[in-house]
């Protein structure tokens, strides 16, 4: 198990009452597999992902990375060295070019980065489908699909095994969506990454190795 959530509880205080978004949620993920977490809008998918990616902490319960509590690793350090996060709204930095956006996490991580980071970044972008002349453009001069590819390249830049994506195709048309999903499959099956994608789309869930359904704070296997 590369990533494991145990008895996660997360709630919002609503007056006197606690409104639970996640209640005693446990789930585990393996390397080399493409997972989806399915759920309706407002079901708590983003909340779960934020806990798995150490952008937030649960009120109780633990997240284990390779059997180690990520709290013990340190949230900041965990994000820096062990996880790549992809957002629905890309979240690239418009001041910088595509390749510069990919270079940023390389300068932050403590993971081994090959000497010529620039070449690695271009190759990564090329592999994801961004050619050199587009890689040198400021990111806001790229289409949505292209921007999400850059975001995926950025998530891969630090050579992490864990890729978490929150509705990565939510802003894209169907054709583009399928291309992105194909990339995720390739990453899991050819490169041995653990890819977890949060979505509300059944079609995507059908293409994953395993799908979970989040409903009323409870996570169950989805067939």
């Amino acid at each position: 198990m590369i990533l494991e959530a145990k008895d996660l509880n997360y709630y919002y205080q609503d007056g006197e009452e606690r409104r639970y978004i996640l209640k005693d949620t446990s789930v585990s993920f393996e390397k080399g597999k493409f997972y989806t977490i399915l759920g309706q809008s407002g079901s708590g998918k983003t909340t779960l992902l934020s806990l798995l990616s150490a952008l937030d902490s649960p009120h109780s319960g633990t997240v284990l990375f390779n059997e180690e509590d990520i709290k013990k690793i340190g949230y900041e350090k965990f994000r820096r060295n062990h996880v790549g996060i992809i957002f629905q709204s890309y979240n690239l930095i418009p001041t910088f070019t595509a390749v510069e956006n990919v270079l940023i996490p390389m300068s932050i991580t403590e993971n081994e980065i090959p000497d010529d980071a620039m070449t690695v970044a271009y190759n990564l972008l090329d592999y994801i489908g961004i050619v050199k002349n587009k890689a040198d453009r400021p990111v806001n001069k790229l289409s949505g699909g292209e921007q999400q590819r850059v975001a995926i390249a950025r998530a891969l830049a630090t050579n992490v095994e864990l890729i978490l994506a929150d509705e990565p195709t939510g802003n894209l048309d169907e054709e583009m969506e399928q291309e992105i999903i194909n990339i995720f499959k390739k990453l899991a099956h050819e490169h041995g990454k653990c890819v977890i994608v949060v979505t509300h789309s059944n079609e995507i869930a059908l293409q994953s190795d395993q799908a979970f359904l989040l409903k009323k704070g409870v996570l169950s296997s989805h067939e």
């Binding site: 001041t95 940023i104 300068s107 932050i108």
Partner: protein, 487 residues
Amino acid sequence: MNFIKRGFLSITRKKGKSLILLAVIFILGNLISGAISIQQATGNVETNIKERLGAATTVELDYEALDALSEADWEGFEIQDIGVDLIKQIGELSYVKYYDYSMSTYLGSEAIDSYQGDMEEDYIHHGPSMDYMLKGINYAPVLDFEEQKGKLVDGRVFTQEEVDNGTSVAIISKKLAEKNNLHVGDTFTLANAVYTYDNETGEEELVTSRDVVLEVIGLFESQSIREDAEVDPSRGMFDFMDIEYQNTVYVPNEIVISETEYHWQEYMKADEELAEMMEGEEQSFEYYTPLFVLNSPEDSDAFEEEVIPLLPELYTVVSATDQYDSIAGPVESMANLSKYVLIAAVIATVLIIGLVVLLFLRDRKRELGIYLSLGESRSRVVGQILIEVMVVALIGITLSLFSGNFLAGQISNTMMEADHNTSYEEVMYYSQIQTDVTTADVLDSYEVKLNSSYILVFYGIGLLTILLSTAIPLIYIVRLNPKKILM
């Protein structure tokens, strides 16, 4: 793409914002640099002028306090003299470099002609002349020479023996010597003439006279001749002071005492009324004005503090540097103004830059959240922003370093000239320690300079101010929650 490189790239990529920040820093920087320039210039004036005014101090009656005394206060009040013992006690204080206490008296002469400067031609002699100031010396090397009021150009100064014994030797000015063809080793004769004054007729009548024969042992020249004197409105006063000095005859103090005593006794013989009045009173002919030269003009305050308690009632300490306050009006008001401008400019800078940076950061909230989501430490995110602001600040401050200094020089000169012309009268009075330094000299020595201490102080204050103003928005970064921003 570490945080340093990101900082520099952000500056060049977001030119508009960088230029706005630069402009704001430049404008505020001009205010700060101008105020600091003026502060430094006024500070320099004070040290320079006080240096020129010298470290001479004296102990005199406090005339202001005397004026303030009511008639009732005067009842039974007796003004005490400053005794030699007290003078010596003060002279032993550590602040004092050397000191002298001397008497002086005026004598005339039939045998020699006094120096009269440029006024010689139309000088009309009225009544008995008392042209020569006999100045008594206790400090053998002559304090006036040590203090560069005069300079020995021929012969020698007194020996301690001559001072102790009251030997009939004198040091006179070279001009007086030339006029009378006197040389070192020659003797000349002054007359201690006693006159009575008839109140009804206004006639003066010679009662008696005795010769004072002195041997010239040295010649001096005045050191404070002003080259630029023509344009000076108070020229007349300086001429008067110069002529008086050229006709000064330095002698051992004992000679002055004995001549004063003679004069006084002969005068009493001639005036019976006065003699009756003074009958039985202890008579002292030794009335001294001491002169203490301090190690440095900066010691005057400390010296004054220690001396005041030792003095008899109604005496006060007067320092040459006291004069500074009366002649430095325009510079002082400029110093005050610049102090307030500096304080206001620093406060304004902290607020304005703080606000500008905060607004810019709010625009970049998402970018900052991304860094955090990628696991960048908050201190490095803060570091990147600091680099961006401080690099721009360094450029803005460097630009305003020159322009603010230049503008300050222009503006302050104009303002002080106007100030000088309208509101300050030059207060001139004649005293032992009076120097000929005027408000014009103060303004002359006022100079806004671009020197290393100004540059250092300005960079220090400027960059610290900007740093302080960036501190507030940085709290904003520390509190950012990347999940809320990004998800």
